[in-house]
């Protein structure tokens, strides 16, 4: 089914704004954060206007309503990613916090000096630094699946690395720089055969295509609401119930306890064990609405639309002189295109495009090691989502031609 992009564009109030008088917004930075549809924004406003209360122990009407709304969001998420139960859905601040949670609880308890963690060269800093911190603290070994010249993971080397019997493999389902979609299911199966657990960074995958954590057989799967038309400040750690149950709590405080004495406490049941303090209630409700919105359109339809836009963009960008796409031949790719434009610095590319209302990102996109590997200090990145259309791509191409003229 083709998406009705004109209708979708009207769902997102911000897409109606002019960046400056006479210049409409062309938003090509959804990989950093997605825009929000009116129904998500309204759901949070409505919660504050009619239901606002702290959750879980309140007896009054508002508290019961707020609790039901918060927990119903969790239910929607569990269904959306095909988790077996809501016990497997832990609310965090974002994907980054979810990874840190696993590192600081599971990692601290179950890893010992000399144990190996396998990561990849295409990780976002959020799936590198928490493991570096843990490795330093516990004297762990880190090793990395290389990225090929084509922008894909070198799976032959992965097989060799698995022979070293790692305890954990952590990798991104989709690269935020190259757009590469990694063969998660195959990689997870191989890791399990080698005796390792697997954490998948789904920050770029869950927003853009259908993900079934049970079918993937992932042990941990993390993502953020704000990249999937939901609010900032809330994310998810999916973990298999058995694993979450064995893990010690993360942060201590209210809500994560069953019983507290002066010198000891008994942790709460899953998933509350990992949710200390008052959580982001309005954001959870907005997150639930975001999932309703994406589900109504259909993740298959969104994925197909992005595929078409990305193929169109890769084709059209060939018309731009001096433009070199960072790994153009990735076989399985999502709607992310990073590129260089001759010798023009990415900051200058982004600044000139901004003049035409076009929002792209410039820099290392929180993946410094990947840029270093390819000898690039920085790149420009255009990324697409359900609300982008062919005209957005055409405007990008025209904007890039202006950049070329200016710096010729």
């Amino acid at each position: 089914m083709n998406l009705d992009i004109n209708k979708i564009k009207t769902d997102f109030p911000i897409l109606n704004r002019e960046v400056r008088p006479g210049t409409r917004l062309v938003y090509l930075d959804s990989t950093a954060t997605a825009q929000k549809p009116g129904i998500v924004i309204d759901s949070m406003k409505q919660y504050y206007e009619t239901n606002n209360a702290n959750i879980h122990r309140g007896i009054h009407q508002l508290a019961e309503e707020a609790t039901a709304m918060y927990e119903s969001a969790r239910q929607k998420i569990a269904i959306f990613i095909h988790a077996r139960s809501t016990k497997e859905i832990v609310f965090t601040r974002n994907a980054t916090e979810s990874i840190n949670l696993v590192a600081q609880t599971w990692g601290r308890k179950f890893l010992q000096a000399g144990d190996l963690i396998i990561l990849t060269e295409m990780e976002h800093h959020s799936n590198l630094v928490p493991w570096q911190m843990l490795a330093e603290e516990k004297n762990l070994e880190l090793d990395f699946i290389p990225v090929t010249e084509n922008g894909e993971l070198d799976l032959d080397t992965y097989d060799l690395l698995l022979e070293k019997k790692p305890k954990l493999v952590a990798f991104t389902h989709m690269s935020n720089v190259l757009g590469t979609i990694n063969p998660a299911k195959e990689m997870i199966e191989k890791a399990h055969n080698a005796g390792a657990l697997v954490l998948v960074d789904g920050a770029q995958s869950v927003p853009h295509f259908s993900v079934d954590v049970t079918d993937l057989n992932a042990d941990f799967y993390v993502f953020s609401a704000h990249k999937m038309v939901g609010p900032t400040g809330i994310g998810v750690l999916y973990g298999k119930e058995k694993l979450l149950a064995e893990m010690p709590p993360f942060l201590g405080g209210g809500d994560m306890i069953k019983k507290v004495l002066l010198r000891s406490f008994k942790p709460n049941d899953l998933p509350h064990k990992f949710e200390a303090g008052t959580p982001a209630i309005a954001e959870a409700i907005g997150f639930g609405k975001a999932i309703d919105y994406l589900s109504a359109i259909g993740m298959e339809n969104i994925a197909n639309h992005e595929k078409k836009i990305t193929q169109y963009a890769l084709q059209k960008l060939k018309d731009v002189e001096n433009l070199k796409v960072f790994c153009p031949n990735v076989t399985e790719r999502g709607g992310v295109i990073s590129f260089e434009l001759g010798f023009v610095h990415p900051h200058d590319v982004a600044q000139v495009l901004d003049h035409y209302g076009i929002a792209v990102r410039a820099g290392h996109h929180c993946a410094m090691p990947l840029h270093e590997k390819f000898g690039l200090p920085a790149t420009s990145r255009a990324s697409f989502y359900l609300y982008n259309d062919y005209e957005d791509v055409d405007l990008l191409v025209i904007g890039l031609q202006h950049v070329n003229e200016m710096f010729a």
Binding site: P346, H347, D348, Q351, V352, H355, A362, H364, M406
Partner: protein, 132 residues
């Protein structure tokens, strides 16, 4: 980004008048903005009265960082070394003649940071430059 950006910044970026190195020199220092990979080195020569007689920069970076380095070199030639102490964020923005958001400000101020850190030590420069 107005016409001024086009003309002045792009002109200084494309055809810098003070790009190069000095050997021998009386002063050389380099630093980078790790966030965007911009790298700048500044070489100076001074006479016996500590007046800057020659100033050049080298390195790579965006149009704003390169143009501001070129303009900064131009502005310090003929001045006593001591006067660099009084140069601030505003000095550079006046040279560029444009307003910049916080991200691009870092690009614009990199050359002044290099110059001051080299002359006075990194601990003796203003906070707004240290933040770069």
């Amino acid at each position: 980004m107005d016409d001024f950006y086009r003309e002045l910044i792009v002109e200084h970026y494309k055809n810098p008048a003070y790009k190069g190195t000095l050997d021998p020199n009386d002063f050389t220092y380099e630093d980078e903005n790790p966030l965007c990979g911009d790298h700048i080195r500044v070489d100076l020569r001074v006479d016996e009265k500590q007046i800057i007689t020659e100033a050049v920069f080298s390195g790579h970076g965006c149009a704003i960082s390169q143009a501001s380095a070129d303009l900064l070199m131009e502005s310090i030639i003929g001045k006593p070394l001591d006067e660099v102490k009084n140069m601030t964020k505003e000095t550079v923005l006046e040279l560029l003649g444009i307003q910049l958001g916080p991200v691009r400000l870092k690009c614009a101020l990199l050359s002044l940071k290099v110059l001051k850190a080299g002359l006075y030590g990194i601990g003796n420069i203003e906070e707004e430059l240290l933040e770069i």
